[in-house]
């Protein structure tokens, strides 16, 4: 049984809303008033805001836990409680091992100091000893790509450089428990790739990671387990696919009107192969998706959009009835519409989410959406990766001796121009 790296037990955190007494000039009269019986609403529970309520969970050593939830659900508060920046109102938090929290990677930077000085300062703030920083200095500088600007005060850096330097220091901390709060999205595309790889290394090296992000793709890539927070409560824990699907469904239903006010709704979606309804397919196999819609009121210019996302919620395919040349249709009150899409599932091994959306095609008003409508599993004999299966075959392989090249790069003839086939 692996050790527990982080344990939260029945943790609750309360904040007080409204203005607090933040000067003695205000406090002393208020205090006197209270003493003389004229109570202010200082203890009014209506001013309480419970950012977290009775949260309990455990993270095993070496596990990567993703924390998702809407804005204001309590994710950052949870991280701040774990990293001891704040204390819980009730309950306890236990952490085993050295903890480093990347909540704002450039937090310790001082604008008047140079890049070099800030690396030492920030590294120290994040818990590294001077010796450690000395040892990793070259790596940090190399990772950031800012070697030529090291001796310039960071106030002259662009915001991208600033963020890159901050992240480079943070990425080399090597704690036992790492907390990451939305900081992987700094820098340009190339740098983000570096950050992601670095995080993967950290996870591979056995560190425990708690990861808060709105980037569901990153969460589903990295994390072994996920936790969904809603209004301060943990509502679900489980594998990333399941928790993220729940998060999306809940946030969708929170934002859209409820079904009775929608003019037309999706009533049924099924996917089948030749034999009937199923959810496991072979790559390249044909599948049929049946969609049924019910109209509550008369709707015109309707079209059905079918799209498929992969397990990381990246859209890999998208089409709709009017784009496939079938124009739009009109439904009168109470009418039911059914249609079937026939597809060739040219996808590699993996889990995919066919999703359906009903909309009005001229003004792109969306009426209803099931995302995901269903989940299918595709298996492929060939080992291919990516979004698409191109059914590859290697038709030819040969090995030649090296040809002589003259300066203009044109191949010359050699006496020993021979072919052999590979082993």
């Amino acid at each position: 049984m692996s050790e527990i790296a982080v344990r939260m037990e029945h943790v609750s955190k309360r904040f007080r809303k409204g203005e607090l007494h933040d000067s003695l000039r205000d406090l002393i009269p208020a205090f006197a008033a209270r003493m003389f019986g004229q109570t202010s609403n200082h203890l009014d529970t209506r001013r309480d805001f419970w950012a977290l309520e009775d949260a309990s969970f455990e993270v095993a050593q070496g596990e990567a836990l993703g924390i998702v939830g809407a804005n204001g659900a309590g994710k950052s508060t949870m991280l701040k409680l774990i990293s001891r920046i704040m204390k819980p109102t009730s309950g306890s938090v236990k952490v085993n091992g050295r903890l480093s929290a990347l909540i704002e990677v450039s937090a310790g930077f001082h604008p008047d100091l140079t890049g070099r000085e800030n690396i030492y300062l920030n590294g120290s703030i994040l818990g590294m000893s001077r010796r450690e920083i000395d040892a990793k200095f070259e790596e940090i500088v190399e990772f950031s790509g800012l070697a030529e600007f090291l001796d310039t005060p960071v106030k002259r850096y662009s915001s991208g450089m600033y963020a890159r330097l901050g992240f480079s220091v943070a990425a080399h901390v090597n704690p036992d428990v790492l907390i990451v709060d939305e900081v992987l999205s700094v820098g340009d595309y190339a740098f983000q790739g570096k950050c992601v790889n670095r995080m993967k290394e950290v996870i591979r090296s056995g560190a425990t990671v708690l990861f808060v992000s709105h980037n569901l793709r990153t969460i589903s890539e990295f994390c072994h387990r996920c936790l969904l927070l809603e209004r301060g409560r943990i509502v679900l824990t489980g594998p990333p696919g399941k928790v993220i699907a729940a998060y999306l469904n809940r946030s969708r239903s929170a934002h859209t009107q409820d079904a009775s006010s929608k003019p037309v709704t999706i009533s049924k979606v099924t996917i089948r192969n030749e034999s009937g309804e199923c959810s496991r397919f072979q790559a390249g196999q044909k599948a049929w998706i049946d969609v049924e819609l019910t109209a509550r009121t008369r709707c015109t210019k309707l079209a059905v959009c079918l799209f498929i996302t992969d397990d990381a919620y990246q859209e890999i395919f998208n089409t709709s009835t009017e784009r496939l040349g079938h124009g739009s249709f009109t439904l009168d009150e109470g009418e039911v519409f059914t249609c079937t899409f026939e597809l060739n599932l040219n996808m590699p091994n993996g889990i995919f989410h066919p999703s359906v959306l009903i909309f009005r095609y001229d003004n792109e008003t969306e009426y209803d959406r099931w995302e995901p409508a269903t989940t299918i599993h595709v298996s492929s004999e060939e080992d291919v990766r990516g979004f698409v299966h191109c059914f590859p075959k290697v038709t030819r392989q040969e090995i030649h001796a090296a040809k002589n090249l003259n300066l203009a790069g044109i191949a010359g003839d050699t006496a020993s121009d021979r072919k052999r086939t590979p082993d």
Binding site: F15, L20, H21, D22, S23, L24, R25, L27, K80, S83, R84, I85, M86, K87, L99, A101, I103, E104, A107, G108, H110, D112, L113, E117, Y120, L121, S124, I125, L126, G127, S129, R130, P153
Partner: protein
């Protein structure tokens, strides 16, 4: 308490780094460079000379070089104490980002403020010692008393620093109250004058815990031994302040991030 002290020890490098940061920032891009360290003592000495000169005229006693040396010597620890308290006050609220986003024992901030003022103190002291040697004034074996006196002063600065930094975080007007207090404290402390100038009633002034320390410096320059009874009083006062200040600081520290 020991757990917290051990944790502080673990973060000792950070304490030094933050002090170095504060020192560097003060001196980088500054017009006066290291002269900054002697500016405050210089102002105090000049003010002291004016006061002493007035006193000399009033009492018909001539102004002597030893008196000037005494004021100069007392100005430096006083400047140190005043600046330490001022910078400590600001140390938490000025580091808002770090208080709310990273964990480390926050007493590092007021302590680093005191440490960075020690740097200034050492610069000013070197200049002073040089001048004393040149003027051939005030040097004797009594100079060894500087060590314990300074130690007590530093402890007092840390204790007060812990209290005012936490106070300023929760109550924004503490900063202003402290500033006003420090401006006028120089009148309640024997910097320009000596306690002996007040006659027997002067003893009351020694209740100010800084007074015995400064009087001690005064005695050193005059070649006398400081009054160790009162120095002991300062030591006890400083120790209690630091203990109380530290315990209170650690008690309210968990609420820093949400109240800053």
């Amino acid at each position: 308490m020991t757990a917290e002290l051990r944790e502080l020890y673990d973060y000792r490098e950070l304490l030094v780094m933050i002090a170095i940061r504060d020192i560097k920032v003060r001196y980088k891009q500054s017009l006066m460079g290291f002269l900054w360290a002697i500016l405050m003592p210089l102002l105090i000495v000049t003010a002291g000379i004016i006061v002493r000169y007035a006193y000399a005229i009033a009492s018909k006693k001539p102004l002597d070089l030893t008196d000037v040396a005494v004021v100069a010597t007392k100005s430096i620890p006083w400047a140190f104490l005043v600046s330490s308290i001022k910078f400590s006050c600001q140390s938490l609220i000025g580091n808002n980002n770090l208080v709310t986003k990273v964990y480390f024992p926050k007493e590092v901030f007021p302590m680093a403020a005191v440490l960075s003022q020690l740097f200034d103190l050492s610069i000013a002291s070197s200049v002073l010692v040089f001048l004393l040697v040149v003027a051939k004034v005030g040097l004797s074996f009594q100079i060894l008393w500087v060590v314990p006196l300074l130690a007590i002063l530093i402890m007092l600065a840390v204790g007060i620093g812990l209290l005012v930094s936490a106070g300023s975080l929760f109550f924004r007007d503490v900063k202003y109250i402290v500033e006003v207090f420090l401006t006028f404290a120089i009148f309640f402390t024997p910097v320009f004058y000596d306690v002996s100038m007040f006659g027997p009633k002067g003893r009351w002034l020694l209740l100010n815990p800084v007074a015995p320390i400064l009087e001690g410096f005064s005695s050193i320059i005059r070649g006398q031994t400081p009054d160790w009874h009162w120095v002991l009083y300062s030591l006890i006062f400083a120790t209690l302040t630091t203990l109380f200040g530290y315990m209170l600081f650690k008690k309210v520290e968990p609420s820093f991030a949400e109240n800053i």
